[in-house]
Symmetry: C2
């Protein structure tokens, strides 16, 4: 990338629970901060024009790309991509492949985004499957869970590739040299686990491209023992959702205990600020989106219930990803 | 079982982090409550005699069974069972098979207990593999996770059997008619998941012996949507440990926020009782042990870090299991 060249980010304004508004607001806020980014907002022309007017979005680096179709969450992803050629996701894919844009940000159908990555944008040479890489908060730093839901039935070679690409991503985006790679397993011993984890353990142990520290039991994930946690897409997804579910349930019961009577309510008031500060890092929206690593170009998936702030973080993430030439570094890392 | 016949429970006094003492104390406490149980404590003769004297255990229904070997946690389970014929676990197995005792309670090596169940005690006719069934607390009732760690690479037929046996166990032990069976998956739609979950969904949907309610995402487990959660042993184990890890990490950070300064410490004092009451149900020790369901006789695994109370709960659990003829009911349920 030439130093003067603008980074062109394509944004899917469909598919977020909070509608197109969050994208327009995020772009308005961040377009002043980065004058070397061009923003391409794909979606409904009338709706977006209206929001541009409403919020006074007039920057010379913000563009509207009219599309007429939308891929809904309940549609079959591959079928939808085949038939809806004027959907935001398909059009973004086309423009990413042709080089009109350098990155896609979308809160839309995960299935459609995965299919776009795997079947249209395609993987880097030698990469078997793109994987979703999601950062989760731990007691120490953040841990990158790869794969957190792209490929259900994986084999050990794919998991090794997740480890390699995940390490590059973590080093470049979080700034940690030789990040620690752990393998999700039911015990720390190399002899524990299912066929996949036994096979993967052997591969990871013998690969000098990564800093493999061994098996990680699920009870130790939130202690932050590793920087990158490698798992198949089924287990990675279970990990993420279990984290979300347990945290949500515990907060529900703790809240109940804190509002039980007038004394506990008073105590809760005194604790509010300290608790809020402490728990801020457990807000998934603080961490931006999850890239589909292993593709030839950047596709970044943000949460369906994202708010403006998360989209701002995603834009910065995409900017850093491209600015640091992650794709080139992925390619180099694969060569060893 | 004849109504006057005593229920003979064999207890492994090795393998618990807290030593033999917790078993002796539990038996002392509970032997007065149940005069139709005979307790057989397997372990070191000197150590147990000493503890019997120390705590004045003189009941006519408590017996000491001398063994000279111990299977350690880091030993290869199958090898250990083959070579240590005078270990508590092997001896308990022999006596369970010969009918000298009707149940085993152990806090020892899970691997050795599993191997004992699978290779020596053996499974009920038609049952492919015994599974560990663990109760976990949810916002509503308790959910039984089957399999929570016995069989790593399972097939869909095994999972169907877990669902059937788990339903019988839940009905008889928790007292819920037609308990709801859920399948752990990454989405609620029948088309989501890996090969195992897709295959299992079909089998569970078409079996009238269970009340199958569909896929359960990990984020909904602690909401208590189902009574029995079916998963392969790898995923079931990940679920349990993730639950434990997330809860522990959150309590750690919340505790930090609550002891941050003098004001938060004061507030915490006011909240202490209410929080303690609310969180009591999240103490794993309240739920006793996890049976290895599908075996010809009862083997109950308790936590390595069990205290006296958990052993008391385990003894009652074993008593109820035998008293309600669970093995016979398992057999009947399999016939449909």
């Amino acid at each position: 990338m030439c130093i003067d060249e603008k980074i062109k980010i394509g944004i899917d304004t469909y598919g977020a629970d909070n509608g197109e508004e969050i994208f327009v607001l995020a772009v308005k806020e961040i377009s002043n901060k980065f004058d070397n980014i061009e923003f391409y907002l794909y979606g409904n022309e009338n709706k977006l024009s209206e929001l541009f007017n409403k919020y006074g979005v007039k920057s010379s680096n913000v563009f509207l790309v009219k599309t007429t179709e939308e891929i809904k969450l309940d549609e079959h992803p591959v079928m939808a991509l085949r038939t809806k050629k004027d959907s935001t996701i398909y059009r973004l894919g086309e423009d990413l492949i042709s080089g009109k844009i350098s990155a896609i940000i979308s809160a839309g159908s995960t299935g459609a985004i995965l299919a776009l990555g795997q079947l249209y944008v395609k993987t880097l040479d030698g990469i078997k499957r793109p994987a979703i890489a999601t950062l989760i908060p731990t007691e120490k730093n953040m841990t990158l869970v790869v794969d957190s839901g792209a490929n259900m039935d994986a084999d050990s070679e794919w998991l090794l590739q997740y480890a390699i690409l995940g390490s590059v991503y973590y080093t470049e985006m979080i700034g940690v040299d030789k990040p620690k790679v752990g393998l999700l397993n039911v015990g720390v011993e190399p002899t524990k686990g299912n066929k996949l984890s036994l096979d993967t353990y052997k591969l990871l142990s013998n690969d000098s491209r990564i800093n493999f520290i061994g098996n990680i039991e699920a009870r130790d994930i939130t202690k932050g023992l590793c920087d990158i946690l490698v798992a198949d897409g089924f287990n990675g997804n279970v990990i993420l959702k279990m984290y979300e579910g347990v945290a949500s349930s515990l907060f529900t019961v703790i809240k109940k205990a804190m509002t039980k009577n007038i004394m506990t309510k008073f105590a809760s008031l005194l604790l509010k600020k300290s608790l809020k500060n402490t728990l801020k890092k457990y807000d998934a929206h603080e961490y931006g989106g999850a890239p589909l690593i292993g593709c030839r170009n950047l596709i970044l998936k943000c949460h369906g219930n994202a708010k403006k702030n998360e989209i701002c973080v995603c834009i910065e993430q995409a900017y850093n990803f491209i600015n640091r030439n992650l794709i080139e570094k992925f390619n180099n890392s694969l060569r060893g």
